[in-house]
């Protein structure tokens, strides 16, 4: 068994194990063990990857495994990783690990809950290791569909509506992706040989620009829906608000990254001409996302809505950076995905924990929580500071890389939109501090809150892992940045060839 396939096998085995559990406690333990193994596996993968690179292996993809699946359609089970996927796998395993512990108190149908959650994660892992568009698409949908049950059954508020909306919009996105994938497939071999879904193979092909122009919007918007591209982001606030804690974490933390990764790996990488020609439209949209999400967040009163809009803003930055087509900005995009993934997972974990104690998510009903639950409050402040891009946390690294990268363009358009995007950091500060101020500081508004207890061990573990991650990246970003750069090489080369 190769290392990459293990990323799909481990969740499936875990699910299998959960099926045989007798009670709630066993389920949790099995899930925790499974996801710890996954985390270890990710650690091993990253180490092995770095060792391989250090040993001078310069292949674009490492640990490649290629098994023919549908010979007639040339569909393969084709997996492999470059620096970017490795980083994303690391992110996913961290978030799912923390997610398991954040949902330690799910009692109702806990078996089903953990099965769905882990199944979802297997889809995400599969997505990140896939090099074949078919399996990529398959895993993409596998990752999306459990959301319906997860939100619908274990959610809060208007969960039925939100779950339906989220699922339909995301599946709408995947429908567009499907069109784009078919377009790619049927133009994957202009010289008339066998068609292919293989990403590396298609990346060697030059698809006629007019064809590219037709399919690029499908792919970009399709993935963009999941990446919360304006104006297709409205599933996000409702979905996040209704989702249970771990689902919000995983969704905002990882699933939304599928969008960015897809835009990057499929839309931009495989259709570079169109990407260059049509970038301006999407740059405008993403710039709107960035600012609009931030302003949208200021007004909200529900913690999850605030965070959801903040995610729109931050994920907008990811897509924005991808469209900048230079190594620095794209590196920043990946960094931002990872950073935002962990950060927002942390946020949602904390919101879940706070909600579990106060039974409200409205910031104007809370206040002074710092006094009664210092651990969680400090974590929240840290998450907030990370979110507003404070140095020492990962957000700063990512945002600065994006801004510097985006600003390197030689034309006014790119620079102006960069400056607009940069200005989001102020708005971010406004809403983060507003929340921190209203939620944690000040006087306690409700006497019931005096009885609140601070974090339990599993909550500390969950948040601790995430905080450790953002701080580790924030303090020593170079290795991650180099890791990503490593994977960016071929992609940038392809884009540059087109540009000239």
């Amino acid at each position: 068994m190769d290392n990459l396939t293990l990323f799909i096998i481990i969740p499936l085995l875990t699910i299998f194990g959960i099926l045989f559990c007798r009670d709630h406690k066993q389920v949790k333990i099995v899930s925790a063990i499974g996801m710890s193994l996954q985390l270890i596996n990710a650690g091993i993968l990253i180490t092995m990857f770095l060792l391989q690179r250090a040993a001078g292996n310069t292949d674009m993809m490492l640990f490649v495994k290629d098994v023919v699946w549908y010979p007639s359609l040339n569909i393969h089970y084709f997996v492999g990783v470059d620096g970017i996927s490795v980083a994303m796998i690391g992110l996913t395993s961290i978030v799912i690990f923390a997610g398991i512990f954040a949902s330690w108190e799910v009692k109702d149908l806990s078996k089903e809950f953990f099965i769905s959650l882990i199944f979802l994660s297997s889809g995400v892992f599969g997505f990140f290791i896939s090099l074949d568009l078919f399996t990529l698409f398959l895993f993409y949908e596998v990752a999306v569909i459990p959301m319906y049950l997860l939100i619908g059954i274990w959610g809060t508020g208007p969960r039925h509506y939100s779950a339906m909306k989220l699922t339909l919009m995301l599946m709408g996105g995947s429908a567009l992706i499907l069109v784009g994938l078919l377009g790619l497939y049927f133009h994957s071999n202009p010289s008339g040989g066998p068609l292919t879904f293989s990403i590396p193979a298609i990346s060697l092909v030059h698809i006629p620009p007019d064809v590219q122009r037709f399919f690029f919007p499908f792919l970009f918007v399709g993935f963009g829906v999941l990446g919360a591209l304006f104006p297709f982001h409205t599933w996000s606030p409702d979905g996040h608000a209704s989702a249970p804690t771990a689902v919000s974490m995983l969704h905002a933390g990882v699933l939304m990254k599928l969008g960015g990764y897809g835009c990057f790996r499929v839309a931009v990488f495989l259709l570079p001409d169109a990407a260059h020609q049509l970038a301006w439209i999407f740059i405008i949209l993403t710039t709107i996302s960035v600012i609009y999400g931030a302003f949208g967040a200021i007004w909200q009163k529900d913690l999850k809505y605030i965070n959801a809009y903040s995610s729109v803003s931050h994920c907008g930055l990811v897509l924005f950076a991808i469209l900048m087509f230079n190594k620095t900005a794209m590196n920043g995009a990946i960094l931002q995905m990872i950073s935002h993934g962990i950060m927002t997972a942390l946020f949602f974990a904390l919101i879940g924990m706070i909600y579990g104690r106060t039974h409200t998510r409205y910031i104007n009903e809370m206040g002074g929580l710092m006094k009664v639950m210092p651990f969680l409050a400090v974590c929240y402040v840290i998450a907030g500071l990370a979110s507003l891009g404070l140095p020492g946390f990962s957000g700063f690294v990512a945002e600065m890389t994006i801004f510097v990268g985006a600003f390197q363009h030689n034309d006014v358009f790119h620079r102006v939109v960069t400056v607009i995007a940069v200005s989001s950091i102020v708005v971010t500060a406004v809403y983060i501090l507003r929340v921190v101020g209203m939620l944690l500081l000040g006087r306690i508004k409700n006497d019931h809150y005096l009885e609140i207890t601070d974090a339990k061990w599993y909550e500390k573990l969950s948040t601790g892992v995430l905080i450790f991650s953002i701080t580790a990246i924030g303090l020593a970003p170079l290795w991650l940045s180099e890791l990503i750069n490593n994977g960016l090489g071929p992609i940038i080369d392809r884009l540059l060839v087109v540009a000239h």
Partner: protein, 469 residues
């Protein structure tokens, strides 16, 4: 003789069962169930044994490995239906009619086999009628229910009208080409106005069977009125057989006017998908709901037909296979619930998961397969259908198709929502379904889960589909 072995085997067991039925004393009529299933199981297994292929009766009957596969697929479906029906047949009101049920189903199956294997329009017509008329009696099965009688009337009258129109089309084909043999018609068919008329009339007749808009209106009422096992038979086997033969005829007889029928299918598939979906959204009766969903599915199948190629052809057969398993899974669950509780409304499914988790899971898998959600087989089927359509460059159609999958996902999720998300004061209480139902559902689930991942299934069908188009 071995060339016709599917039909002959069926005829043999039909006769055997008929004799047994006749000589069984009245109070022991129900003992025919197990022998029927076993006999049919043997037939199904025998069908998979490779054997000679070729033509009989001067070309009136023809079979190829591909056609054999189609028949095997139908056999599989019927086997599952047989197993799933046991529970229902054992009910008191069906006392004394059990044998009839098997006999009628078997005879319609014989009709379908002949229809698929037909080499001329006469054989085709006979097969078609044999596959249709008995079904009306099945639809009107429940003598004491008005709905059932209504279903029977609607089925027999509309089918008679459609076969009238189809015959009119065939007569025109005969008139303009001078033959009813496929081989000869093929050579002589052009797009003269009369022939276009003939083709459209012929197509309307087939479209009736497959339930293509605007020839679909009977389907919802008939599905709703019939007993649920009959509905599942109508929706998968009858429809599947019609799709097979339509495909064969389009690809062979009418290949010269492929550009024309592709346009016809283009228009009707858009209509079918969209109208089917729009009606399905607002249904609360599970059978009616599945009826409209099956209309929409027919629209998707047309996508594969349009992608007139080896890929398209394989995909259509593959999709029908997947569709049989998925739809039978859904109908199976609905049938069990209906038999045990008499409830057929989706609203009654509220909170089903809490009381009957396995049934709900099966239903969910089946619906996801119908909706085309991975990792179940429906995803592969839908994906390949779209691939087939995209192969011809019909991206607009693909776009409309994928948008329709979203609508369809919506209403499939509505059922999932009822079962998993909603809570109810009076949920359907827990019950143990009997062994037959379980086996039936297990076969469906196995099919739904395995077929997609097992690429050899697809590749096998593909390997057979050379040279037909």
């Amino acid at each position: 003789m071995l060339i016709m072995r599917h039909e002959l085997l069926l005829v043999i067991i039909t006769v055997i069962l008929l004799l047994v039925e006749i000589f069984l004393p009245d109070n022991r009529k129900h003992t025919i169930i197990l022998p029927s299933i076993l006999l049919f199981f043997i037939v199904t297994v025998l069908g998979f044994i490779p054997g000679p292929t070729g033509e009989l009766f001067g070309g009136m009957y023809a079979t190829t490995p591909l056609i054999l596969t189609m028949k095997n697929i139908l056999n599989l479906g019927v086997l599952i239906i047989f197993i799933q029906s046991v529970n229902w047949l054992k009910k008191i009101e069906n006392k004394g009619k059990i044998g009839e049920y098997y006999l009628i189903l078997l005879s319609t199956l014989i009709g379908m086999d002949y229809m698929i294997s037909s080499g001329d329009f006469l054989m085709f017509y006979l097969g078609l009628e044999l596959a249709t008329i008995p079904l009306a009696t099945l639809a009107a099965w429940e003598r004491f229910k008005e709905k059932s009688a209504e279903a029977g009337v609607k089925l027999i009258f509309t089918s008679a009208l459609s076969s009238g129109i189809l015959l009119y089309g065939i007569s025109m084909i005969y008139g303009t080409t001078g033959s009813v043999y496929f081989r000869e018609v093929m050579g002589a068919f052009n797009a003269t106005p009369l022939q276009v008329l003939a083709f459209i009339f012929f197509f309307a007749g087939m479209a009736f069977k497959i339930a293509i808009v605007p020839f679909h209106l009977w389907i919802a009422d008939v599905y709703e009125g019939s007993p649920i096992n009959i509905t599942s038979y109508l929706s998968v086997i009858s429809k599947g057989a019609a799709v097979f033969i339509l495909m064969i005829i389009l690809y062979t007889v009418f290949y010269k006017i492929a550009l024309l029928w592709r346009d016809v299918l283009y228009v009707t598939s858009i209509l079918t998908m969209t109208i089917g979906n729009l009606f399905a959204i607002r249904q609360r009766n599970i059978k009616r709901f599945l009826a409209f969903s099956s209309i929409a599915q027919a629209g998707f199948i047309l996508l594969g037909l349009i992608g007139q190629s080896q890929l398209g052809m394989t995909t259509v057969i593959y999709f029908v296979l997947v569709y049989i398993f998925s739809n039978l899974g859904a109908f199976g669950v609905a049938g069990i619930i209906s038999n045990v509780t008499g409830k057929e409304s989706i609203d009654d499914y509220d909170g089903l998961y809490r009381t009957n988790p396995l049934l709900s899971l099966t239903m969910m898998l089946a619906l996801f397969s119908l909706a085309g959600i991975p990792p179940v087989a429906g995803f592969f089927g839908k994906f390949f259908l779209f691939t087939a359509a995209a192969q011809k460059g019909l991206y607009l159609l693909v776009i409309i198709g994928v948008l329709n999958t979203i609508i369809s996902l919506y209403y499939y999720l509505l059922v999932v929502k009822a079962m998993f998300l909603n809570t109810s004061d009076q949920p359907i209480a827990y019950f143990r379904s009997d062994a037959y139902s379980r086996i039936g559902l297990l076969m469906c689930v196995a099919g739904i889960v395995i077929i997609g991942f097992a690429s050899p299934v697809y590749e096998f069908i593909l390997s057979l589909s050379h040279g037909l188009y």
